[in-house]
């Protein structure tokens, strides 16, 4: 099993989720994060003082999937989350050794 972690622009979340369901992704865990990268935040002004916002709001998806699915999932995320503008985000893949479904105690791929 692999753990796919994707950082995307917030407003792309729904789209990505919908695109993944047909591929058999039955679950995911999402968190609000702030991203720092090439994309520079706009210069803001507060009461006459200029300042840079370095961290931009992003959404992080964590999806555990069986190995076979990884390529198409990664590709689908990449395609769907893409706007072509800087700051679109990343997809990371890492190895997952075990997964357990708390409700049933099932483990391995059945837990996903």
């Amino acid at each position: 099993m692999k753990l796919i972690m994707a950082v995307i622009k917030p407003f792309k979340l729904e789209e990505v989720r919908e695109a993944l369901t047909p591929l058999g992704v039955e679950g995911m865990t999402v968190s609000e994060v702030k991203g720092f990268g090439r994309q520079k935040g706009q210069a803001e002004i507060y009461r006459g003082a200029e300042y840079m916002v370095n961290f931009l709001p992003k959404v992080k998806l964590e999806i555990a999937v069986k190995d076979e699915l990884v390529p198409q999932i990664v590709e689908t995320i990449q395609k769907t989350a893409q706007t072509g503008k800087i700051g679109d985000g990343k997809v990371f893949v890492s190895q997952l050794e075990e997964a357990v479904r708390i409700r049933t105690g099932e483990s391995g791929q059945d837990a996903l």
């Binding site: 917030p10 407003f11 979340l13 729904e14 999402v30 609000e32 706009q42 803001e44 002004i45 507060y46 709001p57 959404v59």
Partner: protein
């Protein structure tokens, strides 16, 4: 407010009678019962001031209600619009509005153009009654009229929230408060043709609330709905308000302010008769609001199996708007029913608007427009002098006028500077896009999840 012109006559008239009564009493003995002219002048003026500051307070009510019902990313902007519109209304009404509405309308269609200025020479000369003498300080009347204008503008800002450009909106407010509102106001309260026809709108269900509602409706249609509000399949995607306690506070503020709105519209307080009328108005106003709340709570429980707070809040305002056209005549029981029906209308109309893809962020159209009409048509139920036909005429005439004029203004603004922000700006939120400032910078919030 009843026609100011008639009112003055009336005041003057009454004063003479009381004076006479006084003299008699003074001669006959058990001592003066009447209110001296100057005391009357003070009572009338103070009534305008106290009730006026209550109505001014409604500006805060609209600001909080709207700030609570928009999403966090548009909250700073909503606050800004509300502070801005009140300021603009203040200035415009001084620069042109007041005289356009009240100066020399004389049964016609509008007054004169020019700065307003106060003249209290008569009173300062010790003259409190008689032809053309007003029984209150000019400025107190101006203050009371002024805060009503702002109310009409506040109604618009709620409906068109979350997508309209700041400057496009502010410019509309300039015209609405400086020209559109005063002209139709002249027809009735300025002593114009509509007043002649015998139209009855005590505190402004039509002149204030439906006017704001019509302007909001045209605006909403010309602007279009917020991005993603309506799915292609006709599905509706709710965009819940970010801070409901704030919306609740706003509603309570408006409720409080309404005692000034309706009570002060009695215009004088210099006699027992007047103050009794004001007291009656307070309680009909209060119970109408209560009726609207209870109706909304019960109805949402029945229809949706859950009680919708935002509907209950709208219900309070619905009751208040509904009673505003005639808070002086109905019994408490009737006032309760009028308010309750107002609440029902809101609960029914809110989803209806969504069917037509008319995106009203805070429900200002059902509350102020629909109930403004309902309230106006309900006046004859308790006020013998009012006729259904005349009421309908007034509603239609003013409705038509506001629809046409505001549509033109919206269109012109759209053509010249544009009224709608870019879809990126809408995505990002108006706060960052146009103010560069988050309303709640530390509260992690996003519509995304």
């Amino acid at each position: 407010m009843k026609n100011m012109f008639h009112k003055c006559m009336k005041a003057a008239g009454r004063v003479r009678i009381l004076a006479a009564a006084a003299v008699l009493l003074l001669l006959s003995g058990p001592a003066m019962a009447a209110v001296p002219d100057e005391s009357q002048f003070i009572f009338n003026t103070f009534s305008f001031l106290v009730h006026g500051f209550l109505v001014m307070w409604m500006a805060a009510g609209f600001a909080m209600l709207e700030a609570g019902l928009v999403r966090t990313k548009n909250t700073t902007m909503q606050c800004l619009k509300n502070v801005g519109l009140f300021s603009i209304a203040t200035i415009m009404y001084y620069v042109i509005g007041y005289n356009l509405m009240y100066n020399g309308v004389d049964k016609g269609f509008m007054g004169t153009i020019g700065l307003w200025g106060h003249d209290d020479s008569a009173a300062l000369g010790g003259k409190f009654a008689g032809e053309g003498v007003t029984a209150y300080a000019a400025s107190s009347d101006f203050f009371f009229q002024l805060v009503f204008v702002a109310t009409a503008a506040s109604i618009v800002s709620g409906t068109v929230a979350e997508r309209i450009k700041l400057w496009g909106f502010l410019i509309f407010v300039v015209v609405l408060t400086g020209v559109i509102y005063p002209i139709q106001g002249a027809w009735q309260w300025g002593g114009g043709w509509l007043a002649e026809k015998g139209f009855a709108d005590f505190a402004g269900s039509t002149l204030v609330h439906s006017v704001g509602g019509w302007a909001a409706l045209t605006g909403a249609i010309i602007l279009g709905a917020r991005k993603g509000k309506y799915g292609a399949d006709g599905s509706v995607r709710p965009m819940p308000g970010a801070n409901l306690p704030l919306a609740t506070l706003g509603t309570f503020i408006l409720w409080l302010g309404w005692f000034g709105f309706n009570g002060g519209s009695q215009l004088t307080m210099g006699s027992a008769k007047d103050v009794i009328a004001i007291a009656n108005i307070y309680i009909t106003t209060n119970i109408a609001a209560a009726g609207g709340v209870v109706a909304a709570i019960v109805l949402t429980q029945i229809i949706y199996k859950k009680v919708d707070l935002t509907m209950a809040l709208n219900g309070a305002l619905a009751g208040l708007v509904s009673i505003t056209a005639g808070p002086d005549s109905p019994s408490l029981g009737l006032a309760l029913i009028i308010g309750a029906i107002g609440g029902v209308i809101v609960v029914v109309v809110v989803p209806l608007l969504d069917k037509f893809k008319i995106d009203d962020v805070v429900g200002a159209i059902p509350v102020h427009l629909c109930d403004g009409i309902w309230g106006t048509m309900a006046v004859p139920l308790s006020n013998g002098d009012a006729k259904f036909a005349t009421q309908a005429l007034g509603v239609a005439a003013i409705g038509g006028f506001v629809i046409v004029t505001s549509a033109i203004v919206w269109m012109v603004i759209k053509a010249v500077i544009g009224i709608r922000v870019s879809s990126e700006a809408e995505e990002m939120g108006l706060d960052m896009a146009e103010c560069g400032m988050e309303a709640y910078p530390e509260f992690r919030g996003s519509q995304s999840i």
